[in-house]
Subunit: 541 residues, 2 copies
């Protein structure tokens, strides 16, 4: 049997030409890519394989942003709860944050953009009664009620891109410069982003695929004072704010958002919180803007004769691949990291793109590719979980990421991937375009519905998380089962009833979360509609 070829992307690495060529051949790769922290070796660009180039829209240009630090990306953060012991209380609002990542914004009037809340009394403290002390980064509240707790919500600049920060700290990059993210909503940055892409496209003729990582706003990833993860939400919009955004929101939606509407007592509207009408408005507002700006970049890429691919992650906030604005962006492809069947389906079912690609685990990073560890273990469990889902709805390509030189040191791993690549191609050639057998149509019911298809119960991608593990398992089971799966929100049912082709509805999640529904179940109409449907034979789990 002659070796099969194609549908595989190889992360190449400068200085390892021989190794790159060998793996290109053994894995049957037909595309090569660079990776955060690596550069493509120029020789490889001549092998005939498609060339993917990683492209950062809103970071990696410190020469620009250092001259325009007022255009850094911004974030709303909340201080810790501070108990007043007397009528005056000082709140050290930066306590617990990582100063290399976060810098308070004193450029815009704190009295207007910050908020002090008496969390015991549940009242906003009048801005007359507090002042900011920049010297020691405190807010001092006067006329406080002793033994009430107070918080400050403050606007800050993000001065280190969280993904680069994570990679930097994980891989010990030492004195590599910190990427400072800038904001497309601000005038100079917007100009720069477009101009730079023009220039880059002109200079990178050999690139076939521009792989955006991603567009404008990073999911919420905040480190603590010890440079460890403090808060992560793969769906968080808290780092997509700015004075400009808040003002544009007010103009578009007719009302002003409070800082509390973004930080929600420190919960940052995480996806477990039943989404408020205001947060839904903010999601809509940012999605519309992000789609409009991303579309311009995609068009430029396509006009230059290249494909535009989006990495599902990093600065993907506002993209919402299952949202109503996504198709307008006009992307050619989406690539994303696969943690199991659920994430595979999340990628493979994204609408309005020509193809999808799965980045398999493990990344070729020194945390896994270290002496004494066997990376095949993770690779195998990753592939077995994903394969079930591929049989239902395949991605069109697969690939890996990281330092090729590290993987090369593990011959068993190299052989295992060779086998995976062949098996993937065999499956793909047999099933692509076919409709799989389907026993039932299942709808997953929660507050998010289609917007967060396959994204329910996810925290940081597919990383197991005690509180959601069981519920996430429901989706993982569905991802490879012989059933059709759709996602339904409570509002969908209230507005349009239960789709007539649904056989079983699954509502799963911790009490009082967006996934189980919380207060949604107090709606009598919802209860009536569901009970009637069950009475007529519908299955409800």
């Amino acid at each position: 049997m002659s070796k099969s070829q194609g549908r595989v992307t190889l992360p190449a690495q400068a200085g390892y030409m021989k190794e790159s060529l060998e793996l290109l051949s053994r894995w049957g790769a037909d595309a090569i890519r660079d990776c955060d922290g690596t550069e493509l070796p120029p020789e490889l660009k001549k092998t005939g394989a498609k060339i993917y180039s990683t492209y950062f829209v809103a970071r990696g240009h410190n020469e620009f942003v250092k001259e325009n630090m007022g255009e850094c990306q911004q974030i709303y953060l909340m201080s810790k709860f501070q108990t007043a012991r007397e009528n005056k209380v000082a709140i050290p609002f930066m306590a617990g944050y990582f100063k290399e990542q976060i810098k308070p914004d004193y450029d815009h009037d704190p009295k207007k953009w910050w908020e002090v809340i008496d969390r015991t009394g549940g009242e906003v403290v009048d801005a007359k009664n507090w002042e900011v002390n920049k010297a020691d980064e405190t807010v001092v509240v006067h006329g406080a009620v002793p033994f009430h707790e107070y918080t400050v919500t403050f606007l800050a600049y993000v001065i280190w891109d969280p993904t680069q920060m994570y990679n930097h700290l994980t891989n010990n990059w030492g004195d590599v410069e910190h990427d400072i993210p800038f904001d497309v909503r601000k005038p100079k940055s917007r100009q720069f982003i477009h101009d730079y892409l023009d220039k880059w496209l002109a200079e990178n003729e050999e690139t076939d695929v521009v792989r955006f990582t991603t567009f404008f706003y990073h999911f919420t990833l905040v480190f603590n004072e010890e440079a460890r993860e403090k808060y992560v939400d793969w769906f968080g919009y808290s780092a997509s704010v700015s004075v400009e955004a808040l003002e544009a929101f007010e103009e578009e939606k007719g009302y002003r958002l409070r800082p509390e509407d973004i930080v929600t007592a420190g919960y940052h509207n995480n996806p477990f919180i039943c989404p408020t009408p205001k947060f839904r408005d903010f999601l809509d507002f940012q999605q519309k803007f992000v789609a409009q700006e991303a579309k311009k970049l995609v068009k430029k890429v396509q006009r230059a004769g290249k494909e535009a691919m989006m990495f599902l992650g990093d600065n993907w906030i506002g993209i919402e691949p299952y949202g109503k604005y996504f198709p307008q962006i006009g992307l050619d492809a989406v690539v994303g990291s696969v943690g199991g069947g659920t994430t595979l389906r999340m990628i493979s079912e994204i609408p309005a793109v020509k193809y999808t690609e799965a980045r398999f685990l493990p990344y070729f990073f020194p945390d896994t590719f270290r002496e004494g560890n066997n990376p095949v273990v993770e690779a195998k469990s990753n592939w077995l979980a994903a394969r079930r889902a591929i049989l239902r709805k395949p991605v069109d390509r697969i690939g890996y990421g990281g330092y090729l030189s590290l993987a090369y040191k593990f011959p068993k791993f190299v052989s295992y991937v060779e086998k995976v690549a062949d098996e993937f191609r065999e499956i793909y050639e047999n099933i692509a375009g076919q409709t799989p057998y389907t026993g039932l149509k299942v709808a997953v019911l929660n507050a998010w519905g289609r917007l967060r298809s396959w994204q329910a119960h996810m925290v940081a991608h597919a990383i197991p998380y005690k509180q959601t593990y069981t519920y996430a398992g429901v989706l993982e089971a569905l991802s490879g089962s012989s059933v059709d799966v759709s996602f339904l929100s409570f509002d969908d049912i209230l507005e349009e009833g239960i789709p007539s082709d649904v056989d079983v509805i699954i509502n799963a999640g911790l009490r009082d979360t967006a996934f189980s529904g919380g207060a949604a179940w107090r709606d009598q109409k919802l209860l009536r509609l569901l009970r009637e449907w069950i009475d007529q034979g519908g299955g409800f789990i």
Copy 2:
């Protein structure tokens, strides 16, 4: 060393004179008792040991109650939730109940004493819109909203005493007559109860201690249609209602209780539910009445030259040994079953009695005393758990219950109890009346406070229960620790502040229960007081 004697009660059994005398001597017993289902052998009454006689106040007199079935004890029960499929819905309200235990009360007008609730809409259905169909035990609701759920709360007679029912079914008593409980609040029963005690006292001169089991109302113990436990709440007041009680309540408290105030959507005001003001009123109302009636019986016993002892269990509802009316009853002693350190302290700390007695496990019943089982295992774990608590605050006596003949067949068990009895006496002689070393004063904070001292998180006595096991462990640990333990309610703190001698406050329990506090924590004053106290050095767990 000569054998120690005393402080031990032996359950004697007719027909086993030799065995009874042998154990009396080996265990050093100085008191003998009968037991539910056994009679004392007359010869034993001449050994010089104190004689306890079990006395049932409100059961065991079918000859009386069968002539007065309208004076049976009553209970409020709720039907299952019934979904309406059209405008008319029939609710089979007896579905799921055990007909040998429960009989609907049609004697008092259901339109006045029952309640139909639309549980989806949250509204009471006007009595005009439903009727009772006695023939098939349904309530038919007209004008129902399709796919809303409806319940009926109905008043019923309890026609089988739940403890006798439990013992009867557990020990296969076959055609032994079912004890029908009657209600001291009803005129003929009240007369009968007093007259019968007079007669009994006159006829039982040899009795030294009248052991009441207990007084008037049984805790809530409802069996299902398969004669298995459906609902048990050792603290439940749902079986203490009657038309007479509800009318007297209205007179005393100035407002009328609804059936829903008793059944609370099927949760029956169980101790996990934060007690409502109405339920607190009902508790107060029943306690006052129970104390007043029990006091009369106790006085009669004492006037006859005997001691009045109360068993903590069975018909103990309304007694509340830590409540404000209990001391008025004037009991000589309390005896209770010990499941571990917590229940030991619950008994040993009861105020206003001359002595307390612990009934150790296992009961000499065939479920434990069967071939192939080793009853020493349970006896040892029971003694070891109780011993820790005894060292902090001893009961004054110990004893066992059940069929002596069964225990006698297990010589290792008999020897083990011999050792326990000696050890108990040795401990007691050394520590009784001493104040143990105390490192700290701990207060357990919940919605119940002192009223339910040592009773927090308890469901059916000390039986482990998944949802409370961890929290109950806190009390179990405290029961034998070298700390003083007190019980504090949220109201205590709000009304009187935190007692100045408390070092540590423990607040433990599942979210939104009376034990963690639920909405109590929204009280700003409570938060302020506790934070201030913590700020001044108080420990809060």
